[in-house]
């Protein structure tokens, strides 16, 4: 079984690099039954999720990751729980916003896709 910490690191690097560069390219990471809760709004399915992310009201975005934590979700199936905290810089903003995000990753054919995705901005 792959080292879940290594998988998490690789996934997080890829996810945020892709997100910051071109959100449209995130589609292959989701499937028909994937679920995204973005700031309380729920979306299901790769197509709808990508549409939601692409239509977020900003052009430029940069994620700066503070912490990445990984845990095996299910040893038998090899699924992984990844939790991320960090900072988000949007458009021309100088003041970053703190965020936290959780991914539930499912293995498939040598890579992983996202079943659950929960994103929150942290104000407190």
């Amino acid at each position: 079984m792959a080292d879940f910490n290594a998988v998490a690191k690789a996934f997080v690097d890829f996810y945020y690099e892709t997100f910051d560069r071109n959100r449209q390219e995130l589609t292959p990471l989701y499937r028909e039954n994937s679920m995204l809760t973005f700031e309380g709004q729920q979306t299901v399915g790769a197509a709808a999720i990508t549409e939601k992310l692409v239509n977020l009201p900003f052009q430029k975005v940069g994620h700066r990751i503070s912490t990445t934590d990984a845990q095996p979700a299910d040893f038998e199936r090899g699924s992984i729980l990844v939790s991320v905290t960090g900072l988000l810089l949007i458009d021309e903003e100088q003041n970053p916003q703190m965020f936290s995000q959780t991914f539930h990753l499912i293995p498939e054919g040598g890579s992983y896709w996202v079943f659950n995705d929960i994103f929150r901005l942290n104000y407190a």
Partner: protein, 214 residues
């Protein structure tokens, strides 16, 4: 899907209230929610099993959590291949909690983020145990700014300069509201600021100030 979600949300609500209520009060019943295979991460420190979690609970100082918001999602308990959440199958619950926490060790209020992965019991699938948990907390300048403010002027100044990314602060007679690009106001932000405003002896006037570039 809606039916599943409402059950999931109810279970998540019960869990969150139980967990933080007991964590801040009597922690002795919490380990019952864990099994030998439960994995816990506490600010990066990994441990597993109810016993270890018990030991951790005993050394963490008394706490008061204030939950800002939490979200939950279900996931299939058995197979991901067809990967549909249906009423017949078993399902687990993923919960994402954010808020602030004060530990009784002289440290300042911190912001925290916690993730729980709940799995159904094999025999009684209406009961859940904690399969995985991840707790992260950090000193937050926003918390310092809000809780340290005694005067309206300090509050306004802090809001315009701290790195929270607040775009517009509008002070009217009774309500202070913070806006951001991506999402509307947070309940905690609003209540904290209302508290500061209501306890402030100065008369509030209608003013607008902006932080960051509009």
């Amino acid at each position: 899907m809606e039916a599943i979600m409402s059950i999931v949300e109810k279970s998540a609500e019960q869990f969150v209230q139980f967990y933080y209520g007991n964590f801040d009060g009597q922690r002795t019943t919490l380990p019952n929610l864990y099994r030998d295979k439960s994995t816990i991460l506490w600010n990066g420190n990994a441990l597993s099993g109810a016993q270890k979690f018990s030991e951790l609970l005993a050394v963490i100082p008394q706490s008061i959590h204030e939950i800002d918001v939490y979200n939950c999602q279900p996931f299939p308990g058995n197979t991901f291949i067809t990967a549909t959440v249906n009423a017949q199958g078993t399902w687990g619950i993923l919960i994402n909690v954010t808020g602030s926490v004060k530990f009784d060790d002289g440290s300042a209020i911190k912001s925290f983020f916690e993730v729980f992965m709940l799995m159904p019991e094999e025999e009684q699938t209406n009961n859940f145990f904690v399969q995985s948990q991840n707790f992260r907390c950090s000193r937050s300048e926003a918390c310092d700014a809000f809780y340290g403010c005694r005067r309206l002027e300090d509050l306004r100044r802090n809001l315009t300069t701290h790195p929270l990314g607040v775009h517009k602060v509008v002070v009217d007679r009774f309500l202070l509201t913070a806006y951001s690009v991506v999402s509307p106001e947070s309940a905690t932000v609003r209540s904290r600021l209302e508290l500061a405003l209501s306890s402030n002896p100065l008369q509030s006037e209608a003013t607008t100030s902006t932080a960051g570039v509009e």
